[in-house]
């Protein structure tokens, strides 16, 4: 029979998971986990609910940036004015997930660990250069978001390891990000393609730092440095936008499925990267 535990500390959660002989799984919002349990896709022997761990609900400014507790639901994330201002693209991705009902439960860390190539919270976190703060039986470590998913439905986390927080780097002046997804409906759907762009401008509006990430065009979310390089040193002129789209398309390795063909995904990836770049550029104060 399955057991349910809701420990009050991270170390208690880690030791419960580390000691478990069968399948032990973390539950944050449960919006993926409970659906998978109902369909019989996963059959855990132990569920460790991390929502009773108070520090995992906190948003804190730290020496290295902003730390977002892994149990904070995305509705609460979207209500945080400081985050909306510093990381509009990250908030956009996280708050696009599901309905208001799903928002009241789901988390960014859960979206990341569910490891869907189309997870909406992930591209903007990759473009942000965010890190997962991980605690496990052997202590703490930090891992770039990009390196958490190993493939569809798989992560690089080891037995007993929990993501305790997502850490966004310090924001420089004139920086902003944006996230866009293509879906056939207006809400409540899974991304067919998605793109996130994160930019920092100099005082003259020239892009000095850039990152571009694409979702749903490969087994994991892609970080595309070649697309970022196409933007650096430019004021996002048409030639730069063309090079951006070209580099984004070149990085795609999508599949054909009922949601879209590979060719369609490649085409739209370039378009979304351009649009996200324009939005991020304007948000960062570029003209």
């Amino acid at each position: 029979m399955m057991r349910y535990e809701a420990p009050a500390t991270v170390s208690a959660a880690v030791s419960l998971l580390a000691r478990e002989k069968g399948v032990g799984l973390v539950m944050a919002g449960g919006t993926d986990l409970l659906v998978k349990m109902k369909s019989g896709l996963v059959e855990p022997d132990l569920i460790v609910d991390i929502k009773r761990i108070k520090p995992l609900h906190e948003v804190k400014k730290t020496a290295s940036g902003i730390s977002i507790g892994a149990a904070l639901c995305n509705a609460a994330l979207g209500e945080n004015a400081m985050l909306r201002k510093a990381w509009p693209g990250v908030v956009e991705g996280a708050t696009l997930i599901g309905s208001k009902q799903v928002q009241g439960r789901c988390t960014m860390a859960g979206n990341l660990c569910n490891a869907s190539p189309a997870g909406d919270a992930v591209p903007a976190l990759v473009a942000a250069g965010a890190k997962a703060v991980i605690q496990g039986p052997k202590g703490k470590r930090k891992l770039a978001i990009r390196d958490v998913p190993a493939g569809p439905g798989r992560t690089t986390l080891k037995k007993g390891e929990i993501i305790t927080a997502i850490e966004l780097p310090k924001r420089e002046p004139r920086s902003a990000d944006a996230y866009l997804r293509f879906i056939p409906r207006t809400e409540m759907d899974i991304a067919v393609v998605s793109a996130a762009v994160n930019l920092t401008l100099d005082a003259k509006g020239v892009i000095k730092k850039a990152a571009v990430a694409l979702g749903a065009v490969a087994p994991t979310v892609l970080d595309v440095p070649a697309a970022a390089r196409a933007l650096i040193g430019t004021k996002l002129d048409d030639a730069a936008l063309d090079r951006l789209a070209e580099a984004a398309r070149a990085a795609c390795r999508p599949i054909d499925d009922k949601r879209g063909t590979a060719a369609f995904r490649i085409q739209v990836a370039g378009v979304l990267a351009q649009r996200a770049a324009r939005t991020a550029y304007a948000r960062a104060g570029g003209k």
């Binding site: 399955m2 349910y4 919002g29 449960g30 109902k38 569920i47 309905s99 208001k100 009902q101 809400e187």
Partner: protein, 158 residues
């Protein structure tokens, strides 16, 4: 099977129940506590017929475990009326014929109340967006939107 002993608050009343670890809050409400307002339309978070508030957050009770209710405050459609006096949303849903079969209605009412608490004067688009997690097979949504608009106006005292 022993089960988990849970102490919680439902619609302001202290409630205790025993449930199995995999049992959802929706099943507990319906099968153990006789609160059958929340409905199971899908069981996978898509339809919103099971919507309830848990600690002031709108959630699908089909994607919450019963055991998670420990120490929390749960609000269901059964707690919306004050005695025999319907909540303005409930009354205006009837007046505007915003329901037919009624399966979606308890969830829509809870979601609409949550929306109006955050945004007392929503635009039509905001109402449609706020209720996007509530599917209705009968009404075509238009009458639901009109009823919510009327309730918003009345509740603002306008």
């Amino acid at each position: 099977m022993a089960g988990i002993h849970v102490k919680t608050t439902i619609n302001g009343d202290a409630v205790e129940f025993i449930c199995q670890p995999e049992e959802t809050l929706l099943d507990v409400l319906r099968n153990r506590l006789g609160l059958t307002g929340a409905k199971e339309g899908c069981g996978t978070g898509d339809c919103g017929a099971c919507s309830v508030m848990v600690d002031d957050r709108l959630t699908c009770s089909c994607l919450v475990l019963g055991a998670e209710a420990e120490g929390r405050s749960v609000e269901t459609v059964e707690g919306m009326a004050r005695g025999s006096e319907l909540h303005p949303l409930q009354r205006l849903f009837i007046e505007h014929a915003a329901l037919q079969c009624g399966v979606c209605t308890p969830g829509v009412l809870i979601a609409a109340r949550a929306l109006l608490e955050k945004n007392p004067n929503p635009s039509e688009e905001e109402i449609r967006f706020g209720l996007a997690g509530n599917l209705c097979r009968c009404t075509g949504y238009d009458k639901i939107v009109r009823a919510v608009q009327a309730a918003a106006q009345e509740m603002r005292g306008a």
